[in-house]
């Protein structure tokens, strides 16, 4: 009972804060914060499944988000036919070679019995890169040279972008499978370092393989699952709808000209709010679906087994549970959710910018969300995402306010004041660090601690 109250209260306060932002700043800002809170909540649930349910430490969040983002491009961007003609064959061939090599590495590792096994494995592993280069090299340079300024990449399959969210999840799960096979039996701190390195590798792949992602040249103008603002502004039903909504304000206008100008303005602002609202609804549906499933899973025998493994691995092993396999599954599931949210994020932004993936922002902030909200508790993870993202965005105006209040006497040309105002974006890191340390010290289980489930 007590726990329920806490959850309702916490989310009530959060909603109130967002509404306050709506009144004080603008509704567009409030909805933008809400949408990113929702996306972050999905991310933090993915991390929570890995860390909270089974104690796996995954510092590779950034990498899985980038994979999700990659999926949006592969799925939704229209194909560049010249590029396919120039280098499609080579790329597909090299993909096949890669698949065969990985399969044979797994085969040799599993089935091969010989004292030369390790040498063979080593040879296979180091041959991957030269083989790929040999097979794909010429095609890649052919692809990148086609219309380099505007395209220079393969493009995708021109399918609805919503599909890419699921594809992103599948991609992430596949990569997690390979990573998990190699790394999951490492000790927790080694696993943290290994996953961090892997996410670095993934991001440099996305950044430098221009034939696939255009690299630092970015891919812009992605599709959307919701209408574009411009289309809304030109559609009769939306203009009529706005006219109906703001009847009172419009009728106060003195003459027709003024009325049209006012209507135009209203349509402009409400179209962007309407689009954001559509996104919110979709994200909310995703969040609730994932929440329902993971809560159900937590209460099922499967969830009980996971907690048993987390709390006492040796006992779980003694009971005949295959710990390594369970860990692999949960690593894949969590990564799939993270990949899903990565695709959501890119869809919402409408552009894919590989250079923006930075570990502090895309790995550790997500971790702060989970730890702050409540490890092992899905509601906690969601609350953490909301609180952290809210602080992340609002700390800049807040810091500006504090600096101005403290230094109101000081002249605006004062060097120190200018310097402080310039470095406002970094105060949020300070807030994150302090918040994390305080929570770890005084509420080590997070704001909403894990509930003990008796089933």
């Amino acid at each position: 009972m007590r726990n329920n109250l806490d959850i309702k209260l916490a989310f009530g306060v959060m909603a109130l804060l967002l509404i306050m932002v709506g009144f004080v700043q603008s509704w567009g800002v409030a909805l933008a914060i809400l949408n990113l809170c929702l996306i972050s909540a999905v991310m933090s649930m993915g991390v929570n499944i890995q860390w909270g349910y089974s104690g796996l430490i995954n510092f590779g969040v950034m990498g899985f988000l980038a994979i999700g983002g990659l999926a949006t491009i592969v799925v939704s961007v229209p194909p560049v036919n010249e590029a396919w003609a120039a280098g499609g064959f080579g790329v597909i061939l090299s993909g096949l070679i890669l698949f065969v090599l990985i399969a044979s590495i797994f085969y040799v590792h599993r089935k091969f019995q010989s004292k030369y096994k390790n040498y063979l494995l080593f040879l296979l592993v180091i041959s991957v890169i030269p083989m790929m280069k040999l097979a794909a090299g010429p095609s890649i340079s052919a692809i990148e040279s086609i219309d380099a300024a505007t395209s220079g990449f393969l493009g995708g399959f021109d399918m609805p972008i919503i599909l890419s969210w699921f594809v992103g999840a599948i991609f992430a799960a596949l990569v997690a499978f390979i990573i998990g096979k190699v790394c999951l039996d490492l000790r927790s701190d080694y696993l943290a370092i290994a996953t961090l390195l892997i996410s670095g590798i993934i991001v440099s792949y996305v950044k430098h393989e221009e034939w696939l992602t255009r690299g630092v040249k970015n891919v812009t103008g992605l599709k959307r699952p919701v209408p574009f603002e411009v289309d809304l502004q030109n559609s009769d039903w939306f203009v009529n709808f706005i006219g109906f909504l703001f009847k009172g304000r419009l009728s106060k206008a003195s003459d027709l000209d003024e009325k049209i100008i006012l209507l135009n303005e209203l349509v402009m602002t409400s179209s962007s709010i309407f689009v954001k609202l559509c996104f919110s609804v979709i994200f909310l549906i995703v969040l609730i679906t994932i929440l329902v499933f993971s809560e159900k899973a937590l209460r099922s025998p499967w969830g009980r087994m996971m907690r048993a493994i987390r709390d006492n691995e040796d006992a779980a092993k003694a009971m005949g549970k295959n710990v390594v396999k369970r860990h692999l599954h949960i690593f894949m599931i969590g990564s799939a959710i993270i990949g899903f949210s990565g695709a959501m994020l890119v869809t919402y932004d409408g552009l894919f910018t590989p250079a923006s993936y930075q570990p502090l922002r895309y790995t550790f902030i997500i971790w702060v969300m989970v730890l702050l909200g409540g490890t092992g508790n899905n509601y906690g993870a969601i609350l953490g995402a909301f609180v952290v993202w809210f602080i992340w965005i609002e700390s800049a105006p807040f810091a500006l306010f504090v600096i101005n209040a403290l230094m109101s006497e000081v002249d605006n040309t004062n060097q120190l004041k200018i310097h402080l105002i310039d470095s406002i974006p970094y105060f949020r890191y300070l807030m994150m660090g302090l918040g994390l340390l305080v929570v770890m010290r005084y509420r080590p289980k997070g704001l909403l601690p894990e509930k003990i489930i008796n089933n």
Partner: protein, 336 residues
């Protein structure tokens, strides 16, 4: 003649940079490994500790230069090192007292300490960026080159030359001096021995009357010294950029694990293993082979195993290979 040219080429592009980069990694890795051995956690804030120390050195360098004090042909930053070290020691001890001590007393799991160190990382990150900004700072002064490639060519009459930047020599020499003092301290002095004893077996060390609070303080002091020196050397050699220090943390961790975590000598060698593999695998050997092979066999491609964009992949690959085949590091696992 061609053979000599080929060797010089390798010396210029692999051995000299490898020694420099390896020294920087080695100093960093020894610090990480000491924290791991004595305090028993992987400190993710280490990269930012290095950045903090370097920042203080840069600020003090600026102050010294404004007073008109320089260090002749050596960079002024070397004079400013003590200031950076003192500030970093104070900072480390402050964080230990306010943050890490609590978890040590609670005997928390290493994972919790990793998470806490991430909190510290955020704070240090913010401090460095607020004070000095996220951009590039070049604070190198004094003589830039000890030997230019053209001078070398003139001297020997070869086609290839070795360029030796003064920062490279300073890095290697400072590393040799620092490491000699450190290993002397750890192996020969009583305090060093008690540190090793504590890291080897905490309970036994306590029984024999070693004061753990002192050990912890010594460790932080040594680690801060190493972090500041490593950070400053890296900053002198390349340039100071906060994010680069964070990125360097990953090869440093790899070097630590390769050498066997908690083993300073291993970390020292680990740094060089990582550096030489990284540089050796990302170097394009075309020119080298052109010198050595007969004309009809000359390669058409760059003969580069992997592009420099993927240098993380090399750290990772070494890490995984070592963890699979020698989980205790390339040397027989033995703490400090």
């Amino acid at each position: 003649m061609d053979f000599l040219n080929a060797i010089i080429l390798l010396g210029n592009y692999i051995i000299v940079p490898g020694l420099t980069y390896g020294s920087q990694l080695a100093l960093g890795a020894i610090g990480v490994t000491l924290i791991y051995g004595v305090l028993r956690f992987a400190n993710f804030a280490y990269g930012d500790l290095m950045a903090f120390g370097t920042m203080i050195v840069i600020l003090s360098t600026g102050y010294l230069q404004s007073l008109g004090i320089t260090f002749g042909f050596l960079p002024t930053a070397l004079l400013a090192l003590p200031m950076g070290i003192i500030a970093t020691v104070i900072l480390s001890l402050f964080f230990d007292k306010t943050v890490f001590k609590y978890y040590r007393d609670m005997k928390s799991e290493p994972v919790i300490l990793i998470v806490v160190s991430i909190g510290v990382m955020f704070i240090l990150n913010a401090i460095v960026r607020i004070v000095i900004g996220p951009g590039d700072v070049i604070f190198m002064d004094g003589a830039r080159f000890i030997m230019k490639a053209s001078e070398f060519k003139k001297m020997t009459g070869l086609n290839e030359g070795i360029a030796l930047k003064s920062t490279q020599l300073i890095t290697v020499i400072t590393t040799i001096i620092t490491c000699s003092i450190l290993f002397y301290f750890l192996n020969k002095t009583k305090t060093g021995k008690s540190m090793r004893a504590y890291s080897d077996n905490e309970d036994l060390a306590l029984l024999s009357g070693i004061d753990p609070t002192k050990i912890v303080i010594y460790t932080w002091v040594i680690v801060s010294i190493l972090a500041t020196i490593a950070g400053t050397l890296y900053g002198l050699d390349k340039s100071f950029k906060p994010f680069a220090y964070w990125n360097n943390l990953l090869p440093i961790f790899a070097a630590t694990i390769v050498g066997g975590i908690g083993n300073p000598l291993g970390a020292f060698y680990g740094g060089f293993v990582i550096a030489f593999t990284e540089i050796g695998l990302t170097y394009a050997y075309k020119k080298f082979l052109v010198y050595l092979l007969p004309e009809q066999l000359e390669p058409s491609s760059l003969v580069q195993y992997i592009s420099t964009d993927y240098k993380f992949a090399i750290s990772f690959a070494i890490l995984i290979v070592v963890l699979i085949y020698r989980p205790n590091g390339i040397f027989k696992g033995k703490v400090i």
